[in-house]
């Protein structure tokens, strides 16, 4: 599992490859906060290559969203498969995040 960051225009795109769970969420958090520190403000996390997410992974998304918003930035999500969508629905986090069906649509939406 790993997190691949790349810049698309002025948006930082993060691919979550594998799981987002208690064992690695800190790594995702640090990588995104480093970019925020560097002045980046627009973030997109792409879950097309993600397996499962646990509650601490969800927690890190909530916390990042808050921190990014505090700096006047925005965090959006894309490519949740049916199972991951269910996870967001069960926790009502689908009401907290802007979730796009594709990377392209997410990038356009900023």
């Amino acid at each position: 599992m790993s997190f691949a960051l790349q810049k698309q225009g002025e948006i930082v795109v993060v691919d979550v490859e594998g799981q987002l769970i208690v064992g690695n969420r800190q790594e995702l958090k640090q990588k995104v906060l480093d970019e925020l520190e560097r002045g980046e403000r627009k973030f997109l996390i792409d879950f097309s290559q993600t397996g499962y997410i646990d509650s601490s992974g969800l927690g890190v998304l909530v916390s990042l969203s808050k921190k990014i918003r505090e700096q006047g930035g925005e965090l959006r999500l894309a490519n949740l498969n049916e199972d991951l969508k269910t996870l967001f629905e069960l926790t009502k986090l689908d009401t907290l995040f802007q979730i796009a069906d594709s990377r392209e649509r997410a990038l356009e939406s900023f």
Partner: protein, 154 residues
């Protein structure tokens, strides 16, 4: 019992199959993924619906092991977490055992979807376990046991 189609080696529907797994890991969250993958594979061997193998089992089990490591064993690497999974065509029963003194399951669950909680970073673990499993039990038997039961979805 139906005869299998010639040459295809018989389908799961024709045989009785039970798979179990017993493991003991140090209290280190880096072991969670491997244990989850093993139980997920058993779920797949038994032809459970993809959603149960890809969502219900991995999320609930990852939560239970994480809690056992972090709250039960306080991440003390000298303490072990034991996992026992027992799966057949009808149900998967998983027990996660830590060396802690247990906790009150009902009182520890919050509703993370309530407006006052939705922005919290924590508090979604037990809630998700309860949503994703047919039954969640907690009891003490040679350690603090959390038992998850998932019935096959048809």
């Amino acid at each position: 019992m139906a005869a299998p189609a010639s040459g295809n080696g018989g389908s799961i529907a024709d045989i009785h199959l039970r798979l179990t797994l017993e493991t003991s890991i140090p209290s280190d969250v880096r072991f969670i993924e491997r244990i989850v993958a093993l139980v997920q594979r058993q779920c797949r061997e038994l032809s459970y619906p993809n959603r149960q193998c890809a969502l219900n089992i991995p999320v609930a089990l990852a939560e239970a092991i994480a809690n056992a490591i972090l709250y039960g064993n306080l991440a003390d690497p000298g303490k072990a977490v034991r996992v026992h999974a027992d799966a057949n065509a009808e149900r998967v029963v998983i027990e996660v055992v830590d060396e802690g003194s247990g906790f009150d399951l009902e009182r520890s669950v919050i509703d993370p979807t309530a407006p006052e909680n939705i922005r919290r970073e924590d508090g979604r673990g037990l809630y998700l376990m309860l949503k994703l499993m047919h039954r969640v039990e907690r009891f003490t038997r040679d350690g603090n046991v959390v038992r998850l039961t998932l019935r096959r979805d048809e």
